[in-house]
């Protein structure tokens, strides 16, 4: 907030919804970074490089602080944590040895989402990249260079209309605000819309309120099965509150994924939405998502492509079920060591 980097990149979100979306995105990103070190989250529009690195290092220190506070700590526990931290440290060194050295800065950069967007617009010579930077991010990111963007578009719009580059599609034009389109072109667009029997030109609505994959998909489903078994085990051993917490985690995951189904399929009829909802409710969403990504499934009625939808569902599952479920199971195991031998 201090760096004016609270609102997230999602375009078209306005009013209270942009703050609600920002809180949800920041919480999910923080949980993912804290518990998985998800490298993708170091992006300027998510967490930023320096904060990402700070959070991951903090994540390695926390277990030692917790162990020092824990009354029943043993030398074995301390040794296990030291071994884990060393393994993590070695992995970090190997990782930086393997990746492209030119990208190291992305792990300590302090650039914000808005600064990154403006940098992309100014540094690129490719109009597709420039326009993508401006119109696929929240308008607040580029408010400070609005006049510069308007001038750039005024100078180039006629050329794009004449040459019709691949990115200059009706969908792109619909995402552009009236103020960015030169007066004559805007008038033509509105006249064409009136001739077509539509009141005004189409605009994007403002919203106010691989093979490796098959392995992980299989693991995901087995993970859900073991979670269900743990609920049974907890109930059997009288740990009802822990079992209920596990049920709440699975329910939260399903509920948020159902909301995603509604958002992704909002252009579809209720039957198709119901079918997609059932896929989530029956826990076969990971298989369906992987199948669609693998087959490059195309559906013009959905608001995202299959890869984005799979990443969203995976992120929700990690943040609401896999990670908290793992913490809960470790916690129960610490307090009830005899349960460890049951499974």
């Amino acid at each position: 907030m201090l760096r004016n980097d609270f609102v997230v990149w999602i375009p078209s979100l306005e009013g209270i919804l942009k703050y609600i979306a920002a809180i949800i995105v920041h919480v999910v990103v923080k949980v993912l970074v804290d518990f998985t070190g998800l490298i993708q989250c170091r992006g300027a529009k998510l967490m930023g490089g320096s904060l990402f690195t700070f959070s991951t290092v903090l994540g390695q220190i926390l277990p030692f602080v917790a162990l020092s506070l824990y009354d029943a700590s043993t030398n074995a526990m301390n040794a296990a944590l030291i071994i884990l931290a060393c393994c993590w440290g070695v992995s970090v060194v190997v990782f930086f040895g393997l990746i492209d050295r030119d990208k190291w800065w992305t792990f300590y950069g302090t650039i914000t989402g808005a600064q990154a967007t403006i940098h992309t617009f100014r540094s690129s010579d490719n109009p597709a990249i420039k326009m993508n930077a401006i119109f696929t991010n929240h308008s607040s990111f580029t408010e400070s260079i609005k006049d510069e963007v308007i001038a750039y578009m005024r100078d180039n719009w006629a050329e794009w209309e004449r040459t019709q580059p691949a990115w200059f599609t009706p969908k792109f034009i619909a995402s552009v605000g009236d103020e960015f389109i030169p007066g004559r072109a805007l008038q033509q667009l509105n006249e064409a819309a009136i001739e077509a029997g539509v009141g005004a030109r189409r605009r994007r609505e403002i919203i106010t309120l691989s093979s490796m994959k098959e392995v992980v998909i299989t693991l995901t489903t087995v993970d859900t099965m073991t979670d269900v078994y743990m609920i049974y085990l907890y109930k059997e051993n009288g740990l009802h509150s822990n079992a209920n917490t596990m049920i709440a985690m699975i329910s939260t995951n399903v509920a948020i994924q159902l909301l995603t189904v509604l958002a992704v399929n909002k252009k579809k009829g209720w039957r198709k939405v119901l079918k997609e909802g059932l896929i989530t409710l029956l826990f076969i969403r990971p298989f369906v998502d992987a199948w669609r990504v693998h087959n490059k499934h195309k559906d013009s009625e959905t608001t995202t492509d299959p890869l984005t939808e799979m990443v969203m569902n995976k992120g929700i599952e990690l943040a609401t079920e896999s990670i908290p479920g793992c913490v809960l199971q470790c916690y129960v195991l610490l307090l009830n060591p005899s349960l460890g031998s049951s499974r």
């Binding site: 993912l32 518990f35 490298i39 506070l69 884990l84 030119d102 993970d223 896999s322 990670i323």
Partner: protein
Amino acid sequence: MVSILLSTMTTAFASAMISFDQDVSVKNRKKNSEFYGYVKDTNLERTSTFLVLMLLAAFHNLSRTIGTALLFAVSGSTTFVIMGAEMAV
């Protein structure tokens, strides 16, 4: 124990897959070549990077999970205060 290890593996695999897929995506590399492209292009380098990404996520997840579970065992309210403070950062 098996369930915890399986959850860790699943989490690590999903985390590595998301990072890897986003980085090697041609569309992303064209869109933002300064940020994407840390994974090098030979098969061996790609496979090794994916494996290391998975190991990183797994070790990180285990450390953090054990740390949080230990904190919960000490005191639930302390855990929420620490996590809330971290979130606020």
